[in-house]
Each structure stands twice: as structure tokens, then as C-alpha cells.
């Protein structure tokens, strides 16, 4: 009986949302406690398993664990005490260029496995936090917004993070902190400081580059020997 009721409620909500031109973004898969959704006009509704969430909603998890499956297959699990805004969401079941998801993490943290939006067209997916914008390349990650943003990559996929000054790529198992952390320390620890040098022929590991860089001994002291030699260039 409960199944009928849930199906009926969902159907009604979908019809109501369609009538008002609001796109269904996804559905609550799991909930503990009493999270709520706040729509664009400010009206609130409690979230329960099976309920739809819509483009324009802001989710407030309160003290709950909340999990949502989006229509493009994205799965999100929100930490307790998180606020998350679905700024814009469009997906008609196809990756035809009209799809778009734009999210904003206002508070707390979330873990996600991303879906079809952004898979073909990376610009279609944006997740903003106060200190950075995240673009995806089909991935799994966990975000925590607490005096700066900490991003933990999951076991596969990739992220691009724009902190307003540069784009950082993250791949599986990498961790990045944006804002409130020391950029140089991160660079040194990740070895990225070495990447500052031009990579072409100079980027030969070992702290030393053996470039084919002639010191001039192609004519030796007897005027006979001809050969190319190399000088060793310091590359700290």
C-alpha cells in the first residue's frame, strides 16, 4: 500500500512541477532525520525517501544523512549540516548539448559519483564552492567546505578545479586544498615545483638534465676529434 502511496505522491509531484515549469532533478534515495528542500519562492518541504527534488531547490540536510539520485545517474550523499543549491538542472535523457547541471555547495560536505551530464560536454557540469569551481570528467569525489575547500578524489576519474587563478587537475586518490592552505608547501610535497621548468628536453628526472647542449668540444685539442657532447644543466 505504501508503495502505491509513494508512487502516487511522486506522480503528483512530477505533474505539479511540470505544470509550473520546474524540472525534476532527482529523487531522494535515502534519508535519516528531517532534511528539507527550499524552492525558489522560499517555501519549504520535508524530504522523504522517493520524493523529487527540483531545479532551483536548496537542500538543507539539518542533522540528517541524505542521499539523492539525479536523473542523469549522478549519486550524491550529503553530510549532516550541509546546504546545497541546485542552481540549474536540465536533462532530457540524452547528452545532446542541452543538458546542464550547476550546483553550489553553501555549507558542509558531499560525496558524489557523477552521471551523464558533463561526461561528453565538460562545460555542462559546474559545482561551485566559495573558493573554487569544480568541473568534472566523469568521477567520484568528496568535498568538505570548512575554512577553505578540501577535495578528496575517489578511486577513479578526474576533476578540474579553478580557484580563480589557475586550473588544477586532480586524478584518483589525490587530495587538494583550496584556500587557507599553503600553496608552495603543497607544490613541494607533490613534486610539482619541478614541473615549473619547461618540460621538453629539460625535464629529464634526476635533478639533472642531460640536454644535447654542446659545450664546444666538437673539435678537440688536436683539431681532429669531432663529436657532440653535452653539458649538465642544473635543474634543482
Amino acid at each position: 500500500m505504501n508503495r502505491y502511496l509513494i508512487a502516487l505522491v511522486i506522480t503528483c509531484l512530477i505533474h505539479i512541477s511540470s505544470a509550473y515549469g520546474v524540472t525534476t532533478a532527482g529523487r531522494v534515495t535515502f534519508v535519516s532525520g528531517t532534511p528539507k528542500a527550499i524552492n525558489k519562492s522560499g517555501s519549504q518541504r520535508p524530504l522523504e525517501k522517493g520524493q523529487a527534488i527540483f531545479s532551483g531547490d536548496t537542500i538543507d540536510t539539518k542533522k540528517s544523512l541524505l542521499q539523492v539520485k539525479f536523473t542523469d545517474g549522478t549519486f550524491m550523499s550529503f553530510n549532516p549540516n550541509s546546504r546545497f543549491q541546485i542552481e540549474e538542472y536540465r536533462f532530457n535523457g540524452k547528452q545532446d548539448g542541452t543538458e546542464k547541471s550547476s550546483y553550489k555547495l553553501l555549507k558542509g560536505g558531499l560525496r558524489t559519483v557523477t552521471g551523464l551530464i558533463g561526461k561528453k560536454n565538460r562545460k555542462a557540469y559546474r559545482l561551485r564552492a566559495s573558493v573554487a569551481t569544480i568541473g568534472i570528467r566523469g568521477t567520484k569525489f568528496y568535498l568538505e567546505l570548512d575554512n577553505g575547500l578540501i577535495i578528496y578524489m575517489g578511486e577513479d576519474g578526474a576533476l578540474e578545479i579553478n580557484d580563480g587563478t589557475r586550473i588544477l587537475f586532480l586524478t584518483a586518490h589525490e587530495v587538494a586544498s583550496i584556500g587557507g592552505k599553503d600553496a608552495v608547501v603543497n607544490l613541494i610535497k607533490s613534486g610539482d615545483i619541478e614541473a615549473l621548468g619547461p618540460i621538453g628536453q629539460l625535464k629529464i628526472p634526476g635533478g639533472w638534465s642531460m640536454d644535447s647542449y654542446v659545450v664546444g668540444d666538437q673539435v678537440n685539442c688536436y683539431g681532429k676529434q669531432k663529436s657532440v657532447s653535452s653539458s649538465v644543466i642544473i635543474q634543482q
Binding site: 542521499q67 608552495v184 639533472w208 668540444d217 634543482q236
Partner: protein, 438 residues
């Protein structure tokens, strides 16, 4: 209408039975070690059955054992909300957090677990792993990374030779004689292709101490100037210590340069470096090297090489996010044969590298190197002490079309200015590098 209602009711009666069968099948597969197969059965049912303890337990275990760690976290977090006393689930969740580098969450979860007096086996494992986290140890203390690259390009002077066809050699008497260099001894241009590969292994010994090892190989082949085909091998290993805002490194380097298939020169020696973070975006580096450069079959040219370098790195904010690294260095190549001091030299130089982020994954860089070399004695052929000034300027783009891929077009100009005209040359190289990091 009656028919439709009957079918719907039948579905609702049969679905739980179907689900139960599917769960049993998944459980059996899990017992047989076929976690991926079990996961594939359960994953499509998640939306419907999430929140049912039996289902979440099965899904969490199959996802965890098949390497779908993020999905396993979703299921374990649900399961622990429903059955907070499931110590095995809490232990596995803590372990996944640790594996994924989420150490604060892992530590908190291990502590929650230990405070609930778990079974002996779980307690022992949890204590051991918690201690490792508190000691700053990574879940997997060994990291392996590397790269593969392919370069194509053109070099205006593959042999780094003068374009002057004459050699003016002073006589011991009053005048001088003129010799003519054959065309093959003068500068030769050619196209080339090169392959390069490298691997780096880091092994963490404790919170601050790690061992590292790096190996690289590259080979450059010319279209027609086979005599200048070259191969390079390098190995670098040592120990790294991180302490607060300092990183210390002590290592040993061996590299070999082969020309036309024959060993030409080998370098080996010890290096040490200290990097100190001055502020959020600035760091200072000091490094030193002492070793030997040996020329195969030309022992007369062997030298001891010593250098010390001081460097400064600054990362600036702004729309182009400039990154600048500059260093100065001093050193000497001391010829081991007292009869041929002119083969050794003192050297000093500067290096400047700058990089700008132009547009997301597109960066531009420029590099300027200048080295001055004062040789240690009079050249017996030219009766002069050689002095060289060598300048290299490079300009390039780095484009990252996808994570771990780089496409790098570069042009590089080198000019060697010498007081002995036969050592004067210039060289223009243009190349395109495709690099894949892994």
C-alpha cells in the same frame, strides 16, 4: 482495467521474491569471491532498496571487495545509520576512508569503533591502523608514477658545430696557418624524433621520511645524421626528509650519454638540496652536487664536477597566475690530468623560468639560461685560454587536453660565444612533445 490492476498487483507480489533471489545470488557470488558480479546484480537495485539493512550490507561488501570504494561508502554510511552497532561495517568504512586519504574521517570512525568494544580481531586491526594514521603513514606507503613521451622536431645544428669552414691556427713561430674544415665537420641540420620515459617511486618510511628512486631513458634519432643519434639513461635515488616548512634531500645520481650506439660520457655523483618555504607563495632552494664526468676512451677529458645553486620560486596571484623560478649557480669542472688543465673550466650561470596560465589548460613558458665558462689553461692548438658565454632562450606552450596528457610545442635558440672562433656556433631547435603521465 482489471487486467492492468492484476499485472500491477502481480508485480508487487513477485518483486520482493525476485529481489530476495537476486540478493541470495549476490551473496553466493560474494562467498565465491566474485564481488564484481555481485555488485553488478545489486547496484541497479540501490535506488529501490537503499535503507534496507540486508541489502545495504550486501551492496557495501560487494562494492568494497570489487574496488567501488565510493559506492561502498554510500552503502556503509546508510547501513550504520540503520544499525549503528555493526562493528564489522564500521571497521570496513574506516578502512575505506583511510584508503582514500580521508584520514580525519578515518581516525574518527576508528575511534568510534574502538569505543564500542568490538570483537578482538577487529579491535586489533583497528588499533594498528589508527596508530598508522596517527604516525602520519599513508594507507599505501609506496607511490609509483611515471611518464612516456614522444618528440618530433628539427634542429639546425645537430652536431653543435661552427658554420665557419676555416680554422686559423697560430704557428709557434711568427704567423698562423689556415686549415679548412670539411663540410661534414661544420654545422649539420636535420629532423629528429625522440622517445622518453621515466618512473618515480616514493616509499614512505615514517611521517616525515621517505625514500625515492627515479629512472629515465630517452633516445633521439635523426633522419639522416645517424652519427649524432643519442641515448640517455639516468638513475637517481636517495632519501627525503620533510620538517615543518623545510624539505631536505640527499641523493646519488648516475647518468650515461651514448652517441651513435657507443658509450660517450658518464656522470655520477652525490647531490643534496634544501627547500625552505618562506611564505605562502615563496620558496627558497639551495642545492649542491659533486661528482665525476668520465668520457669513454678519452680519459684525458675526465673531470670532477662540483656545483652549488641558489634558487627562488614565487607563485603570483592574478589572472595569469605567473610562476617564476630563478637561480644562480657556480661551479667547476676540474680536469683530472695536470697536463691538460685547459680541458677543465670554472662555470657560473643564471637560469630563469617563467610560466603563465593563459586559458585554463593552456600555459605559456619561457626560459633563459646563461652560462659563462673560463677554461683552466691555454689551448695547445690555438695558444689562447678559451672563454665561452653560452645563452639559451626557450619559448613554449603547455597544453593539457586531458588529465595526465601534455602537448608541448617549443622553440629553443642557443648561442655559444667563444673567444676561439671554432667553438662559436648557434643552434635553433623546434620540437613538439606529447607527454603522458601515469
Amino acid at each position: 482495467m482489471t487486467k492492468l490492476l492484476s499485472i500491477t498487483l502481480l508485480c508487487f507480489v513477485l518483486l520482493p521474491a525476485y529481489a530476495s533471489d537476486a540478493w541470495q545470488e549476490a551473496e553466493s557470488l560474494l562467498k565465491l569471491g566474485k564481488a564484481e558480479a555481485a555488485y553488478q546484480i545489486l547496484a541497479p537495485m540501490e535506488e529501490e532498496y537503499a535503507g534496507e539493512a540486508t541489502f545495504d550490507s550486501l551492496l557495501a561488501r560487494s562494492a568494497n571487495q570489487s574496488g567501488h570504494y565510493t559506492e561502498a561508502i554510500f552503502a556503509y554510511e546508510r547501513l550504520l545509520t540503520i544499525t549503528p552497532g555493526d562493528n564489522e561495517a564500521r571497521y570496513q568504512l574506516a578502512r575505506i576512508y583511510y584508503r582514500l586519504g580521508e584520514t580525519a574521517k578515518a581516525e574518527n570512525t576508528y575511534q568510534q569503533l574502538l569505543s564500542s568494544s568490538p570483537e578482538k580481531q577487529i579491535q586489533t586491526s583497528a588499533e594498528k591502523e589508527l596508530e598508522a594514521i596517527q604516525k602520519g603513514m599513508l594507507f599505501n606507503p609506496t607511490k609509483i608514477s611515471g611518464y612516456l613521451g614522444l618528440t618530433i622536431g628539427h634542429d639546425s645544428n645537430v652536431n653543435g658545430a661552427t658554420n665557419d669552414s676555416t680554422l686559423i691556427i697560430p704557428d709557434l713561430g711568427s704567423g698562423s696557418s689556415v686549415s679548412y674544415l670539411p663540410a661534414s665537420f661544420q654545422e649539420q641540420s636535420d629532423s629528429f624524433r625522440a622517445l622518453l620515459a621515466g618512473i618515480t617511486i616514493d616509499h614512505q618510511l615514517s611521517r616525515n621520511l621517505s625514500l625515492y628512486g627515479k629512472g629515465s631513458i630517452s633516445t633521439r634519432t635523426h633522419n639522416s645524421q645517424d652519427a649524432f643519434d643519442s641515448d640517455q639513461f639516468a638513475i637517481d635515488f636517495g632519501v627525503k626528509l620533510d620538517h615543518q616548512t623545510n624539505q631536505y634531500l640527499l641523493g646519488y645520481v648516475v647518468s650515461e650519454y651514448r652517441l651513435d650506439g657507443d658509450e660517450y660520457r658518464q656522470l655520477r655523483g652525490a647531490k643534496a638540496s634544501w627547500s625552505h618555504v618562506l611564505s605562502r607563495n615563496r620558496a627558497f632552494h639551495v642545492s649542491g652536487f659533486h661528482g665525476q664526468v668520465e668520457y669513454n676512451g678519452q680519459d684525458i677529458k675526465d673531470v670532477d664536477r662540483s656545483t652549488i645553486a641558489l634558487g627562488y620560486t614565487v607563485l603570483l596571484s592574478g589572472s595569469l597566475a605567473p610562476r617564476i623560478k630563478a637561480s644562480i649557480y657556480f661551479g667547476e669542472e676540474d680536469n683530472l690530468n695536470s697536463l691538460t688543465p685547459h680541458l677543465g673550466h670554472n662555470l657560473n650561470g643564471v637560469q630563469m623560468v617563467g610560466e603563465l596560465t593563459l586559458n585554463g589548460p593552456l600555459k605559456a613558458y619561457t626560459a633563459l639560461y646563461h652560462e659563462r665558462r673560463d677554461y683552466g689553461g691555454q689551448d695547445p692548438l690555438f695558444l689562447k685560454t678559451r672563454k665561452d658565454h653560452q645563452t639559451t632562450f626557450a619559448l613554449g606552450l603547455k597544453y593539457e587536453p586531458a588529465p595526465n596528457w601534455e602537448l608541448v610545442p617549443e622553440i629553443r635558440y642557443t648561442d655559444n660565444d667563444s673567444n676561439l672562433s671554432s667553438y662559436e656556433y648557434d643552434r635553433l631547435q623546434a620540437n613538439l612533445l606529447l607527454l603522458k603521465h601515469f
